[in-house]
Amino acid sequence: MKIRRGSGEESGKVDIQMAPMIDVVFQLLIFFMLTLKIVAPEGDFNINMPIGSAAAASDEPPPLDIKVRLLANPDGTLGQVVFGNRPLGNDVPACFDRLNLEIVGLVGSGGGFADDMSVEIDADYNLHYAYTIKAISACTGRIDPVTQQPVRYIEKIKLAPPRRPGEE
């Protein structure tokens, strides 16, 4: 038997109203597009700052201190990097690469991590902070050119007391 489709059956199909949903979806899309702000990732360096002479009270032998002196020009740019008593120049970034090589030489060519060493960075008062960060980075380690992963050398980085102008 042939069943004929009646007009009542056709009206039973419910049509979903898509227009409001699409409106809302586009509103959401525009909201997220406008609020999107790509922020550069930030990293950090831990700094040890012993208070006064409190560190001397410990029974442990004091770690071997490597001294890095950062001299500044009057305008705050880098004047000279001095590793121990050896000047390493002021040609950024090559001078910091040389500092990094010196640290590698001390830590060991095997790229080992030196737990018993610490670096003291003694910067001029007016030296721009960016150079201090470069020096801290050069002492901390390097990026392995093959794996692009950081290789850490020395974690114990401290800053010398500030050299106020006129106090030297």
């Binding site: 699409i22 999107l36 360096f45 008062y125 902070y129």
Partner: protein, 160 residues
């Protein structure tokens, strides 16, 4: 003459792929959008270094200090001295001692005595801030009882 209605003349567009794409885009923007309340200040132009990596374990307690210069629309310094940005207030670095003592009190009230010792003072300083002033700020923080310090840097250094 009677005209017959042509019922099938309306072509319905298939909306499904478009809706799928739109939802994909929404999901993408939702993931990328950073709703986290960071204490970063846009006025601070951080130095960049490849070795600066975010800590593997996020710190529980930190006090972020933003130090930078007040600049005009052209990016020139309005004042040669840097300031610590504290909301809408700008405090000269050497005058920040009382605020640090206040922070210590707040930390102790919130988490109990000695809580400030576990708190890391995170310094976000502008590239051109004199290192001496950063050291002075660390000294003031030490006087207020803080012991842990970290320096922030952008980790996406451009080569060269």
């Amino acid at each position: 003459m009677r005209i017959k209605r042509a019922g099938s003349s309306v072509v319905e567009a298939d909306m499904t792929p478009m809706i799928d794409m739109t939802f994909q885009l929404i999901a993408f923007f939702m993931i990328v959008t950073n709703f986290e309340q960071t204490q970063a200040d846009e006025r601070v132009k951080l130095p960049a270094d490849q070795l600066a990596r975010p800590p593997l374990v996020p710190r529980e307690d930190e006090l972020v200090l933003n130090i930078g210069f007040i600049r005009n629309a052209q990016g020139e310094k309005v004042d040669p001295d840097p300031f610590v940005f504290l909301g809408d207030e700008n405090v000269r670095v050497l005058d920040y001692g009382p605020y640090l003592k206040q922070e210590r009190q707040v930390a102790e009230l919130k988490h109990g005595d000695g809580a400030h010792k576990n708190m890391t003072v995170v310094i976000r300083a502008d590239s051109e801030v004199p290192t001496g002033l950063v050291q002075e700020l660390i000294k003031l923080a030490q006087e207020a009882g803080f012991e842990k310090f970290a320096f922030k840097a952008k980790s996406d250094e451009e080569p060269g």
